[in-house]
């Protein structure tokens, strides 16, 4: 596998400009001759469809739900970062770049991150122009708040619904292109495979979820904007439909999969309440602006929180990390919570939680102010737990939330398959081993609105395309394979449901490859997953309906998750260092913090598919730090 990251020449500040000047362009009159297929309609997909439609390309968007506006970007709560420095508190593009690389524990590509920081300001301008109702100050100018891993206030927000507002903004821009005739939407469609012709991605095979019909669509380029794979853990903050299937299909067709073991466990989620649990709900990181995290000082203290006096509370984040306090990055906060719980100081009925307490903030600012800032989050907490967060501290626990790993892409966001691009959470490029809060929305929109619209034309203008027709052998073959797989699942006659397999996989992943990983636990997972895979194909219970069939949809996703899980664990085993969200028991400091190993692991792990029966091949992209010096990541 050749890994050419195509990082442009010049100093870091000039790389993006240099790239844009050297890139080939497509004449406005020629653009409509190019068909672009986009899979997924979240922030990355919708914004890409909008910007490419605006330029005049012929775009088709495929999405699972009934309307593109349901994509899971909608659930992002807290905000979007940008280096505007409106608070004049020392922010700059360079500082956002530095914070992001450091926050990612020096496992991201410098040039990509710098470009992201540069574009961040343009995103805010564009979102405001398109009507995103960001929070404002009384003077009418934009307001900011703080997020983890930064000492400046650079997060733009729309109450606790920033993802919703940004997604609806991108969606409305996409619908404008639908009206203009440049974008076509294909809802309730699931991509089953990518069609490769002459070494290039030239189309897709997709299943209509209502009729069950399998369709072929040709294109000059395919963009995967399919989000992350946190649902490999079964319980996560992701929506029920989030999956790894499109990325996995790309991997099996030759796209390198980068750093699958880099998964993010978010520290502030509502703890699980029982076996029936189908998902975990996030409580925005923005709550740590005002909420204080604590556990009782003494083990097994079962008193009500209100009965525990100040002197017997341990505000452990403020104690251990005085410089960042409650706003340490997510990986740090999650592991600290785990240490407190492991010490026997967890709270609530199961002991698997810590407190997030607003008592002091309410005392100081009044309950109305807190309501204005986070009202919808307190409501959500109440609906789920039946507890009033204004009166008693919230109980929170870490949960899988985001995946930094994803399809390997070069500077142009192209995977190792020519003409196949990956945008947003689906790629690996910007967050290293840990993503900072409010940076996912920034990356999704940077990729979709501003990067792909500059890099895709360069590919289209340089490539020579043979004619690709859906009657071609390549399409027939891909469709045959996809239908065979669907038929195989439909004909299974076992006794275990897709959900049961998924739950079992989730238990393996959370117990042996979750917040803390060791050689022993990972090897255990590697022995369990193949057995589960074997059982899946022998003992799956399904309802054999060929058209609308949600058990089939679920089974297809779970089948891919099981295969993918093996790769994730393998990657975790190979990376013997701790870094960011990846914590290896064997590599920690005496205080229990992650110990990174730059000498041996300063690279991106890129996995190459070698066939079903063969072990995947590990390729490495060495990371070069020309501007920032990798140092011990301290938030003390």
């Amino acid at each position: 596998m050749k890994l050419n990251s195509k990082i442009p020449s010049g100093n870091i500040q000039q790389k993006w400009d240099n790239y844009k000047f050297s890139a080939k362009l497509v004449n406005p009159n020629n653009r409509k001759k190019f068909d672009i297929v986009i899979i997924g309609s979240g922030l990355a997909g919708a914004s890409a469809a909008a910007s490419l439609g605006e330029q005049g390309y012929n775009v088709k968007v495929f999405t699972l739900p009934d309307t593109p506006r349901r994509a899971h970007s909608i659930a992002a709560q807290g905000g979007i970062n940008a280096a505007k420095n409106y608070k004049y508190d020392g922010d700059s593009i360079y500082r956002l770049f530095y914070d992001t690389v450091k926050g990612g524990d020096y496992r991201a590509r410098e040039a990509n991150v710098y470009r992201l920081a540069q574009i961040s300001n343009q995103i805010i301008d564009h979102c405001v122009a398109t009507g995103v109702p960001f929070a404002r100050e009384y003077g009418g100018l934009l307001d900011n708040r703080s997020f983890g891993g930064a000492q400046v206030s650079r997060t733009f927000y729309a109450r606790g619904q920033t993802g919703q507002q940004l997604l609806l903004g991108a969606y409305s821009q996409m619908m404008r292109q639908v009206a203009a005739g440049t974008v076509n939407i294909f809802p309730r469609m699931e991509m089953l495979d990518i069609v490769i012709k002459d070494g290039k991605a030239r189309g897709i095979i997709a299943r209509n979820l209502v009729t069950g019909k399998i369709e072929r669509h040709s294109a000059h380029a395919v963009l995967l904007c399919t989000g992350g794979y946190s649902n490999v853990f079964y319980l996560s903050t992701n929506a029920a439909n989030c999956n790894v299937s499109a990325a996995w299909a790309a991997y099996k067709k030759g796209a390198g999969f980068a750093n699958p073991c880099f998964t993010q466990i978010h520290p502030t989620c509502i703890p699980r309440s029982g076996e029936h649990q189908s998902k975990l709900t996030l409580m925005s990181e923005s709550l740590r602006n005002d909420g204080r995290v604590w556990v009782p000082l003494n083990k097994g203290d079962k008193r009500k929180p209100s009965e525990i006096p100040e002197t017997e509370r341990d505000y452990y984040l403020e104690r251990i990390y005085p410089a960042f306090g409650n706003l340490v990055p997510r990986d740090i906060a999650s592991r600290a919570a785990k240490r407190m719980i492991d010490e026997g100081r967890g709270v609530g009925p199961t002991g698997q939680a810590v407190y997030l307490d607003f008592r002091d903030a309410i005392k100081k600012q009044g309950v109305e102010k807190i309501k204005e800032k986070y009202g919808n989050l307190f409501d959500m907490y109440y609906q789920i737990t039946d507890e009033n967060g204004y009166e008693t501290p919230m109980r929170i626990y870490p949960a899988p939330h985001y995946t930094m790993g994803g399809l390997w892409v070069d500077y142009e966001l192209m995977t190792t398959i020519e003409g196949l691009f990956a945008l947003g959470e689906a790629n690996f490029s910007d967050h290293g081993a840990n993503r900072l809060g409010a940076s996912a929305l920034m990356q999704g929109l940077a990729d979709g609105y501003f990067i792909i619209s500059s890099t895709l034309p360069n590919y289209l203008a340089n490539a020579s395309f043979s004619k690709a027709d859906i009657g071609d052998e390549e399409f027939k073959e891909a469709e045959n394979e996809a239908s065979a797989r669907v038929r195989k699942i439909l004909s299974s006659k076992g006794s275990k449901t897709p959900a049961e397999f998924h739950r079992e996989l989730g238990d393996i992943m959370w117990n042996y490859c979750g917040m803390s990983r060791s050689e022993e636990s990972l090897k255990k997972a590697l022995s369990l997953i193949p057995r589960l895979k074997e059982e899946f194909w022998q003992n799956l219970k399904i309802y054999p309906n060929e058209d609308f069939n949600q058990t089939l949809e679920k089974a297809l996703k779970v089948a891919d998750f099981i295969e993918f899980a093996q790769l994730l664990v393998k990657d975790a085993l190979e990376r013997k260092e701790s870094c960011g969200g990846h914590f290896r028991e064997e590599s920690k400091t005496p205080e229990g913090e992650a110990r990174r190993d730059d000498e041996n692991f300063s690279y991106v792990s890129v996995w190459e598919y070698a066939g079903d029966k063969k072990e995947p091949v590990l390729n490495k992209e060495n990371l070069q730090f020309e501007n920032l010096k990798p140092s011990v990541r301290s938030y003390k």
Binding site: I74, V128, T130, F134, A158, A239, T281, M380, Q550
Partner: protein, 258 residues
């Protein structure tokens, strides 16, 4: 918290496709736990049906935290269930008691064609947005964000209207199947912001026209939409839509384009 299992009876609308006839099917389900969400209770039912070799009930959901707008059911006659201003996924079984009979139906409106069981097609709402629910600004062309201050109370009002999740509950609750709260919310969101100014007249005309041509009914001031809206979107948005539409109708072509 009391977490002992209890039993309920479900009457669920089953309908194989838009063309076929539907009817209520009765299911009994035990071991329902107070902390379960309503959708988790349906998960339990569907797992049970699948295990018994029966066809599970088709029902949609995605985020399960009340923001994607995907789930939407009529529960015992209430759109989105008995909780006020809430979505089905946020409803928990602690609202129900042992022995309860719960009737579950899809949203019913002629502009939302039926697909299967509890699943319907709400793409008509996308068509209303495509008719003008946006501000025309190409990526890369925007001025510096703070060059245009926006009055904070107006920005807050715009945000109130923009909070719509597109679930279609307003249509389902309206005796006329009107989509006026949905359309009014988008028109208001963009009309309240200065950025939305240049297109406000055309937007109102085109969105209302689309809404009418898609077969949605008219408002007769029943206030049902406001009562069921999970995001508490106010009926005053319909009044604003009507004012926007009326004003635009009185303008000459040149004035609209201005």
């Amino acid at each position: 918290m009391e977490n002992k299992g209890f039993s309920i009876t479900l009457r669920i609308w089953k309908q194989a496709s838009a063309e076929s006839e539907g009817s209520f099917q009765v299911y009994k389900i035990d071991n329902v736990i107070a902390d379960m969400s309503f959708l988790e209770m349906l998960d339990v039912l569907n797992e049970k049906l699948l295990k018994e070799g029966k066809e599970p009930v088709a029902v949609e959901s995605d985020c399960r935290e009340g923001i994607c707008g995907c789930c939407g059911l009529v529960i015992n006659g209430d759109v989105h269930g008995p909780d006020e201003h809430s979505t089905v996924c946020q409803l928990h079984m602690r609202r129900f008691r042992d022995g309860d009979v719960i009737t579950i139906e899809p949203f019913r409106a002629s502009s939302f064609p039926h697909i299967k069981d509890l699943v319907i097609d709400r793409s008509a709402l996308d068509k209303i947005i495509a008719a003008g629910g946006y501000i025309s600004a190409n990526a890369g062309s925007a001025p510096e964000a703070n060059s245009l201050p926006v009055n904070k109370p107006l920005a807050e009002k715009a945000m109130d209207a923009a909070a719509c999740i597109g679930c279609g509950a307003c249509v389902a609750a309206c005796p006329n199947s009107a989509a006026m709260l949905f359309t009014g919310a988008k028109i208001s969101h963009l009309a309240l912001l200065p950025q939305g100014g240049p297109e406000r007249h055309l937007r109102a005309l085109n969105m209302v026209k689309a809404m009418d041509s898609l077969g949605f009914g008219n408002c007769s001031n029943e206030y049902e939409c406001e009562a069921v809206c999970p995001k508490e979107i106010k009926i005053s948005n319909i009044a604003r839509m009507n004012r926007e539409f009326l004003k635009a109708n009185f303008l000459s072509e040149e004035e609209i384009e201005k």
